[in-house]
Point group: C2
Chain length 434, copies 2
């Protein structure tokens, strides 16, 4: 079996077990006991076997990028500004790139100043650095349930607790948010952040409605909770654009830290993302960035700048939209055809569908058998800090070609059918997503 | 005056002062109050003015790299493996690059396995991640006095205390190390790490002797203190290679985490470094790396791999050695000529000379006047966590051409002379480095 199933809950030095000398003599910091591998992590090995249709990892389809665009940009950068590209740079990132990031964010209604931006090593590092700035042990982070797996890993690694607020097809539920805040405050807990992926969320594929955006921001403001808006997918809409970013509302801009990235609109291999933060936070964020890495890669920043200057980057994003829309359609069609009794979300953008399993099937336990059937997915438990999610699976349609997506769903349906011990998938109990 | 003089000791949100709305409503984590800008940081702005001879920043002279080497490697990578270069990768780094790193480290006597290596965003990020794994608030890190400025920033940012152990021209003094450990243990302090830059240290330019390497390792082992060996400069020796790395001694390999980088032997703009760690530590390091950035840049890793495969990288390092040797010679000659009464270290490699000022001159206070005289340096106080170092300055000879190095020293001598209020620099009190 090529998979370790499940989250590793106590990978302490003493129990990592294989006869190699232990580091018991070198005790880790307390926080390190909470640093755990995610289930997505174990899936990478599986996903790389070519015979497996991987609906697991959220890898963008970078083959859709014309390589001339990249090579042309690269060659101009090294030829014209080679010694700058190879050198250390500013910890905040290149001013030129930060100006261009303003143009990218303007597409989602955000008005900011280049000074407000800190360029980071993917938006993941911005997420890590903001957590580092704000989270003391025992602090609480409010997050959608389900929520992005590696955000949960980061929050926990700073010894914070993640409290999942229910969401429905319109995103996080404001009334539930209020109730969770009240309950936590009654318990004397300190809530530091509200973490949200408002557009085509990972993993649920759900978008926060415009009305709820205002309401969520008002609730956060009322309770002095900083909103951490993580928006990797906003420009990858399939029909209409999503509502404007939370950060776009001027009255709340001091209460929101916004995270963006080039990983989905260009390529993750460059590791370039950014944070937009109010001045007092941004100053600390910059110091944290410098302490962590001195400066983001000048080489990749310059290449992205050159690409944005000389290529039709908006046209390229439109191309990505077309590709992902076709795959989303393939997945939804195949689900209708092969798993008619089940329910799932219908994303208007992004990479993911969130599927509710028939009662009695555990997504984590089923995974090894799915892989035997040559299809991989991510169990829902990866997206909860509290062990919930066994009834759900995340299906990523971003990477395989449409025909492979269909084939993957057929194999998944076979796996679920066998798991259920039933003759007909159609007879499965119909359940709606909670 | 273009400089802020001195370390910022309390840059809290409330006091950052300019009328912009404050984040008092969003309290930072406790550790964030200790996240401070370094003096080196403030110097970047100064160093970039072309009329100033900067002996401040430790920027490698990347213009010595033939750009064809880089462009050829880039183009082959994007042409042959573009979709891999643009994608997410393994959190541990590419296996091929890790194999090549073994060849680089073999030059310094290190035998390891590719599995022992975690590729990081420069070795700075390895330093940050190791600190994150090991440092609880109140822990102590032993470090040379003086020590690398951004290591101090990192240790303090995890609420650890840095205890500086005296060094002389042969590196850290073993007897002093024993005394410091005993004193700290008597106080009930928990010592987690011994941080050292054993070769051509930053900032002192001093190399730990072979005999002391064994002794320091024995002391660390005796007291269960993990050694963090940071070796950016080891291959940039001017005459003979330095003694083999601390990590090269087989009996101590479980007690050492070794940090290496391509920033000085190739270019910092790629942000590729690495850590070599015993298995139990490396497993956590990998998880910490994934939590922080998901995976190091595939794009820059592939380019470096291609460069190492197809170029005479050892010849390029020899070229760097020749360049830096010439600049070191220029600096030492100019110091002899212009500041005959003072004392300084005589590095056998690396980037830095450490100069002792005449009694009564404060390196931090003198800096604005040096910049008026169009020369910049780093005040010694930057390299101590405890406010020491006002008698010293770090002079970096790595970046300016030899003639500019000489000019910089002439300007520095004028500045010191004026500061001292004396007619003749030769009359200055002769002091030896403590």
């Amino acid at each position: 079996m090529p998979l370790r199933s499940g989250v590793r809950t106590s990978a302490s030095a003493e129990t990592s077990g294989d006869g190699v000398p232990r580091t018991a003599a070198y005790p880790f910091a307390e926080r390190t006991s909470l640093l755990e591998g995610s289930e997505v992590r174990a899936l990478f090995a599986v996903a790389s076997r070519p015979e497996v249709v991987s609906l697991a990892g959220g890898m963008p389809f970078v083959s859709a990028l014309p390589t001339e665009l990249i090579t042309d940009a690269m060659n101009r950068v090294v030829h014209d500004r080679g010694s700058q590209a190879l050198q250390y740079g500013s910890g905040q990132g290149r001013p030129e790139l930060r100006e261009q990031i303003l143009d990218v964010m303007a597409l989602e209604g955000i008005r900011a100043h280049a000074d407000d931006i800190v360029v980071t090593t993917g938006s993941q590092h911005a997420l890590d650095l903001v957590s580092r700035l704000f989270l003391d042990p025992g602090d609480v982070v409010l997050a959608e349930g389900p929520s992005y797996v590696t955000a949960i890993v980061v929050f926990r690694s700073y010894q914070a607790d993640v409290d999942h607020v229910p969401m429905d097809e319109h995103g996080i539920v404001p009334e539930a948010l209020r109730e969770h805040i009240t309950a936590l405050k009654t318990q004397g807990r300190r809530i530091k952040l509200l973490y949200t992926v408002p557009n085509f969320s990972n993993p649920a594929g759900v978008t926060l409605s415009a009305a709820r955006r205002e309401e969520v921001l008002a609730i956060a403001k009322e309770h002095d909770i900083l909103v951490l808006e993580d928006n990797p997918y906003g420009l990858l809409y399939f029909d209409a654009p999503p509502p404007s970013a939370l950060r776009s509302l001027p009255e709340t801009r001091d209460g929101v830290v916004y995270l963006g990235t080039f990983s989905k609109t260009l390529a993750p291999g460059f590791r370039v993302g950014w944070a937009v933060a109010p001045k007092a936070i941004r100053e600390k964020l910059l110091l944290a960035n410098e302490a962590a890495i001195l400066s983001p890669s000048m080489f990749t920043q310059l290449i992205i700048s050159e690409y944005l200057t000389t290529s039709d980057w908006k046209g390229q994003i439109a191309t990505f939209r077309d590709i992902y829309r076709e795959r989303r359609d393939a997945m939804l069609d195949a689900l209708e055809t092969n798993l008619p009794g089940l329910s799932w979300t219908r994303p208007d953008g992004g990479f993911y569908v969130w599927l509710t399993l028939p009662e009695g099937i555990n997504s984590k336990e089923m995974l090894p058998r799915a892989v035997e059937n040559l299809v991989a997915y991510t169990p829902g438990t990866a997206f909860y800090a509290n062990g919930d999610g066994a009834d759900f699976i995340r299906l990523a349609f971003c990477y395989p070609e449409p025909e492979r997506v269909r084939e993957g769903i057929v194999r998944l349906a076979d796996t679920i059918s066998a798991e259920h011990g039933m003759d007909s998938v159609a007879a499965m109990q119909d359940r709606t997503a909670s």
